[in-house]
Amino acid sequence: MFGSMLWSIWQCRNKIIFDPEIIMGENVVQQSSRLTEEVFHAYRQKASDLPKYYVGTGIGKGTVPPVRRPFKRAVISDQQKRRELSLLRQAQNRCNAQHQARCLASSILSLQSSAPESEPEQSDIEIETVPETEYESENLSKDLDVRRASTLRGPEVRKWFARQLILPEWMIDVPDRLSQDCSDFNILYVLARPAGKRCFVVSSNGTTVSRQLNGSILHYFPSALPAGAKTRNGSGSAQSYCILDFIFHESDQTYYVIDTVCWNGYSLYDCTVEFRFYWLNSKLEESCACNAPSHYHKFRFSAVSVYNCDQSGLYAAYTGAVPYVKDGLLFYNKHAHYQTGNTLVLVWKDENCSQYAIDTDVLELQDDRKLVTSDDPPVLFGCLDGDFIEKSGVQSGNLLRFAIGDGGLSFVDGKLEKADLIYLGKSNRARTFADSYSKPVEIIACRSSNASSNYKYSRIRYAGYIPVHGSAFSSKDR
């Protein structure tokens, strides 16, 4: 009792000295009697562990055996868990920020081009003697100029990285001049696009990494892809690796493969879609990557049914039941090579085949206050006035979201003349690029078609006849 009183006094003193804010809710006597009670209480419980002379001596430390925590109590410490999860999130975010800044796309790409050169044991790099030309030759195209990209910073890097994946072009409308007997009838594939996060999946050296469009890591996991897991019997040699184009479908935690860039060290960049799909189907099956998840294969992989874009194929893709949530249709030109950035893959959405509204358009604000699309060259959509820029705090390089107003878009001579845009706000940070020109056009088309659902379906049917070299879609081929 006396000891605890002293302790109270001492603490009280400390509080007075160190914590002037404290309002003394109980006076020292009350506090010391409460403390005495607590000490006796504690003493009762710990009588076995706590030699008497430790009680009431103020500071006690040392070799008193720790009181064993009754293991029926307090199983969960959520606070610590929350702390740790926060730290994990922060570390991950920092890592992503750094990766983006470093433009780690370069390593994915160099992985792809340099791996076949030699055994990893011999990959003893001769820093001093790497000739400039070797790097030149490693570049797959001007678009993949790693050296140029590496001088970029921040948002520019994210944009560059994102362009390494095929970006689908929005299918606008069916030009009238299509004829039924178009010889290009059979040059398209169609598939029902799964809703979800588009990502690159790279398997290499016993691990698989998926990265989103903005370069951030989505998952880091073992998979049955060649070199995708550290298995006992080991699949494939050390320098094998895969790069695939996937959509991660959140609700069933499944990766739906929509294209492939590299398989087991073999580059498919220069192969046609037809070949890539054939390869993908046979190889995926071979690798057992579509089997149920297991210890060595954390996520389910699934191929998507691809149809020839004839009437029945289109119908199947458009209405057919699929195990995933549909988000539009994707059209591929069978003869196209894998190209980065905007390319000849087309996407179609309406509410029958996608639950996601396509009512807004993302445009990029340039230095000269002009709003442009992600096309190359960019298509000018409008211009913000200085007042607006000041008030809304937007800056050049920002991606902004707009709705298309009732005024729609006006065209003169096939060129955009005027767009009625309503500013909604900045786009999501995960966005790395503006929409392409065809998106707002699609929005208008879709809106005008709402009057008649029949009409919409007929437009879909028409879509099968689009000549892929038609000028409306060839922004990339110029």
Binding site: M24, S48, D49, P65, R68, S251
Partner: protein, 867 residues
């Protein structure tokens, strides 16, 4: 100054008197420290003085020599060492004199003060005569002096590290102590003090335990003491055995049979306080063997300690003994938070035994369960359930699942129907353990099916209406049930029950008695887990939960002027609610569609957090801070609008050295905000950087906060780019100093781990700074720092003790330097001692992250060299 009166006043009931007295003591100390300490020691030694003032004098003296906080302790030690020698020897003389005082409180207080002085002086090779003079006391002095002397030796062994005292003195201390314990010592109090002193001195006896003869002797003395007629001595002797079991495990083989016999006797027959120590001996042996066996598994028999399998050998006798104990429950032990009795100790030990031996325990326990689980006496039913719950961690799932499949239905019905609250409490706990260890995607054969899942949910929801202690365990069971379905996704059988589960948990949080048995906390924690494990199907419901929790938080802020207790309660509730919001923000923010909807609440939530902050004047609420970090991350650049109001709390958090967790959390939040605001954080950087630099140079701040502060430099630099220029010099010099400290470190695992976290922080800072300056016109500012950074990389590469995380960050820094400085770095890298080896090592690393960073570094270096 009349110290006695002041000391009496300092204990006065009257606040003003007390305050004045404390003030004058403080002044005295400030004006004349030696005089102050002298008069305190004089007061303590003076037999004329009242015992209260003597004790308080001793206590103040002790607090002038030692403190809990490391930095304060260090100051006090220095202060004592530089004190006038004359004063010191007078004080010490007073202390030694007090040991002989007839007043036991004075003796005891003096013992502790002597130990503190010894703790400071002996390592400095001062007061070397102390031990000799203490030992001379134990021969011819009166009993109370001997007793106080042993007590002093005990404290001394606690406060002084073993390497300070040479073996010769250790031998003398042990001899004296053992003599004091022997039957030839007539006084019981002396023998007790000697036995307790031995416990503290065991750490010094390594050499003696290595010597067979001396060890035999010490063990015999301890075992004999367990048979003493005095209960306190028996207890102290078992405490010695517990210490020996952990310190000298590998020396116990030849005594274990005898020890089993004495512990079994004590457990069955002796007073509870003695029996508890006897049980503790076996729990402690389990701890040792679990550690050793884990190490065996980890490094393929590379452990340097042999496992003697004492538990396995003792199993047939040990388990029945422990099972017997389970039947000795106390009434109402479940309502008492801190209860600790022989039945609980027995269950705890049984659980540890199960973890030690695995499958072997099942056949010994199952018959006991079968025999007792249906008995009319609640003690038998409870003991059977407790036994079952205790062995669920350890044996293989293959062994346990058949048992669980049989028991599960019985348990579910007992949880509702058993008339006894103890049984229900233990049953709910056992269900929780079943779900924790035998349910989840890692377990091949599921024990929970679509069919019984519904029943489990119904039973647990029902049980959540039971008494607080039972309801708390039911929440815990639900927590693990939910967690087990985390990986399952949309097919989780819990999806259909989501809404009712959440509703039940909310109802629990509103119970009048939710403050008992930490029920409210358990309910919120379970709710958090439910949110964490929610799927796309249930996310609309989580979204609906957001305004509900916001309203709860809002309601707690409505209160008027609160008393101290009420404020404590409010703060606790704030913690729970902010924690819950944090979990929801993190969950909903991680997927685009839910984030989009969630953001409509962001502004109001932020408003609530700011009001939570405003409730505390001196510090910030850690949970609210954590939640704000998550909110900033989800909000992105728009978070800038909250900064003007939020900034002061951010600063306050960074200044909280005392609760270093708060400081650490705040440092993390600065990083979140940097990534959210990017260059918009610039206006706040002056304040933040100043505070962070102050924190780094403080020796009061817990060291674990320093590595994240360095990482935070990197976050800031990356966010603001070349604007970082104004801090560059300061940051770089702090980094440079820390880098030097973290290269040449040899120490134990803990130190290596800390060193690596420090290195990682430093390297992350370098990365952020170099990346931040990239493609600015001011990269040349970084050139002067490059040689040191490369030297640092060389240094840690040479040390060969970096972990994978550091390796990845380090090779990345090499790339960043090359990338940002280009040709300026090229020649430096070519001259570097180990860059090339380091890079090659990383390129061939198994770790994909390291390899990836290395590939990047390779490209950047090649460019820098060819440029």
């Amino acid at each position: 100054m009349e110290v006695t009166q002041v000391l009496l006043n300092a204990q006065s009931i009257d606040g003003t008197t007390r305050k004045n007295a404390e003030e004058s003591l403080k002044q005295f100390q400030e004006q004349n420290l030696p005089g102050f300490l002298l008069s305190l020691s004089g007061e303590l030694a003076n037999e004329e003085k009242p015992v209260e003032t003597r004790k308080l004098a001793g206590l103040i003296l002790k607090n002038a020599l030692d403190a809990k906080e490391q930095h304060r302790k260090f100051e006090l030690v220095q202060r004592w060492l530089f004190l006038d020698d004359n004063a010191k020897s007078q004080i010490k003389a007073c202390l030694l004199k007090t040991i002989s005082s007839p007043v036991s409180d004075a003796r005891s207080t003096a013992s502790q003060v002597i130990a503190k002085v010894a703790g400071i002086e002996l390592p400095q090779k001062q007061w070397l005569e102390l031990i000799g003079s203490l030992l001379s006391n134990v021969h011819q002095s009166p009993a109370h002096v001997k007793q106080a002397t042993f007590e002093t030796l005990g404290y001394l062994c606690e406060d002084v590290s073993p390497d300070v005292i040479d073996q010769d003195q250790v031998n003398k201390i042990l001899t004296a102590v053992v003599q004091g314990m022997s039957a030839s010592e007539g006084n019981i109090d002396v023998r007790l003090a000697a036995t307790r002193a031995l416990n503290n001195a065991l750490g010094f006896a390594l050499a003696n335990f290595n010597n067979d003869r001396e060890r035999d002797y010490l063990m015999r003395v301890v075992c004999e003491a367990t048979q003493s007629s005095d209960m306190r001595i028996r207890q102290a002797a078992f405490e010695c055995l517990v210490s020996i079991s952990s310190t000298y495990y590998e020396k116990l083989a030849s005594y274990i049979q005898d020890i089993f016999n004495v512990t079994a006797k004590a457990v069955r027959e002796d007073d509870e306080s003695v029996a508890l120590q006897a049980i503790e001996f076996w729990s402690s042996i389990c701890d040792e063997e679990i550690d050793i066996l884990e190490e065996y598994e980890g490094v393929n028999g590379d452990s340097d300690i042999t496992c003697f399998y004492f538990i396995k050998q003792a199993l047939p006798a040990l388990v029945p003994m422990l099972l017997e104990l389970l039947l000795k429950q106390e009434e109402n032990q479940d309502q008492d938070e801190g209860a600790w009795n022989i039945a609980m100790a027995g269950g705890t030990c049984l659980g540890l035994v199960a973890r030690t031996v695995g499958d072997d325990i099942a056949p010994l326990v199952v018959p006991f369960i079968e025999e007792n689980i249906t008995k009319p006496d609640w003690r038998q039913r409870e003991a059977a359930t407790y036994a079952f719950g205790s062995i669920l961690d350890g044996p293989s799932p293959e062994k346990l699942i058949p048992l669980v499949n049989v028991a599960l239905n019985y348990m579910l019905s007992a949880l509702i129907k058993d008339p006894n609250s103890h049984v229900k409490d233990t049953t709910a706990w056992t269900l929780g353990r079943i779900f924790e260890f035998l349910h989840g995607s890692a377990i091949g054969l599921p024990i929970i099916t679509q069919e019984n899942c519904q029943q489990i949910v119904i039973v647990l929801r029902q049980s959540m209406k039971d008494t607080p202690n039972v309801a708390e365990k039911a929440c815990g069971a639900l927590y693990f049930l939910t967690q087990g379905y985390k990986e399952v996704g949309p097919s989780s059988p819990l999806v259909p029950f989501f809404q009712e589960i959440v509703q039940s948990l909310l109802t629990v949080t509103h119970r009048e008695d939710a403050g008992e048995s930490r029920l409210r906390t358990a309910a919120y924690e379970t709710l958090n887990e439910v949110v964490r494990c929610s799927t796309d199907e249930t996310s609309p419901l989580v979204l609906q939960l957001v305004p509900v929790i916001m309203m709860e938080l809002h309601n707690t802020l409505e209160g008027q002027k609160l008393s101290y207790d009420e404020r404590e309660k409010q703060s606790e509730l704030h913690g729970l609610l902010c924690g819950c919001l944090q979990v929801m923000i993190q969950k909903l923010g991680s997927s685009e569609p839910t984030k989009h909807v969630f953001m409509q609440y962001a502004e109001q939530i932020m408003g609530l957090f700011l009001r939570v902050f405003a409730c505390k004047s001196a510090t910030v609420h850690e949970e609210a801070m954590l939640a704000i970090g998550a909110l900033a991350y989800a909000t992105g650049p728009d978070f800038a609008k909250y900064m003007p109001e939020f900034y002061k709390y951010l600063e306050m958090g960074l200044q909280n050295f005392e609760e270093y967790q708060v400081c650490a959390v705040t440092v993390g939040v600065v990083g979140d905000i940097c990534r959210a605001l990017e260059d918009k954080i610039a206006p706040y950087c002056d304040g933040i950087m100043t505070q962070l630099l102050k924190n780094l140079s403080s020796n009061q701040l817990h060291r674990s906060v320093k590595p994240p502060i360095f990482s935070c430099f990197g976050d800031i630099a990356l966010a603001v780019g070349e604007y970082f220029e104004k801090y560059l010099m300061w940051a770089m010099s702090a980094l440079q100093r820390a880098a030097e400290l973290s290269t040449h470190v040899a120490g134990d695992d803990e130190l290596t781990e800390y060193t690596n976290s420090l290195r990682n922080g430093i390297l992350e800072a370098y990365s952020g700074i170099f990346q931040g300056f990239k493609s600015s016109s001011k990269t040349q500012l970084l050139i002067p720092y490059a040689p040191h950074i490369l030297q640092f990389l060389d240094g840690i590469y040479m040390e060969k003790d970096m972990d994978d995380v550091v390796m990845k960050t380090a090779i990345g820094v090499l790339g960043d330097v090359a990338d940002t400085l280009g040709s300026h770095a090229g020649s430096l890298i070519q001259q570097s001692v180990s860059c090339k080896d380091f890079l090659n090592e990383c390129l061939s690393s198994e770790d994909l992250m390291i390899k990836e960073s290395a590939e990047w570094a390779k490209l950047a270096i090649a460019r820098a060299i060819s440029a």
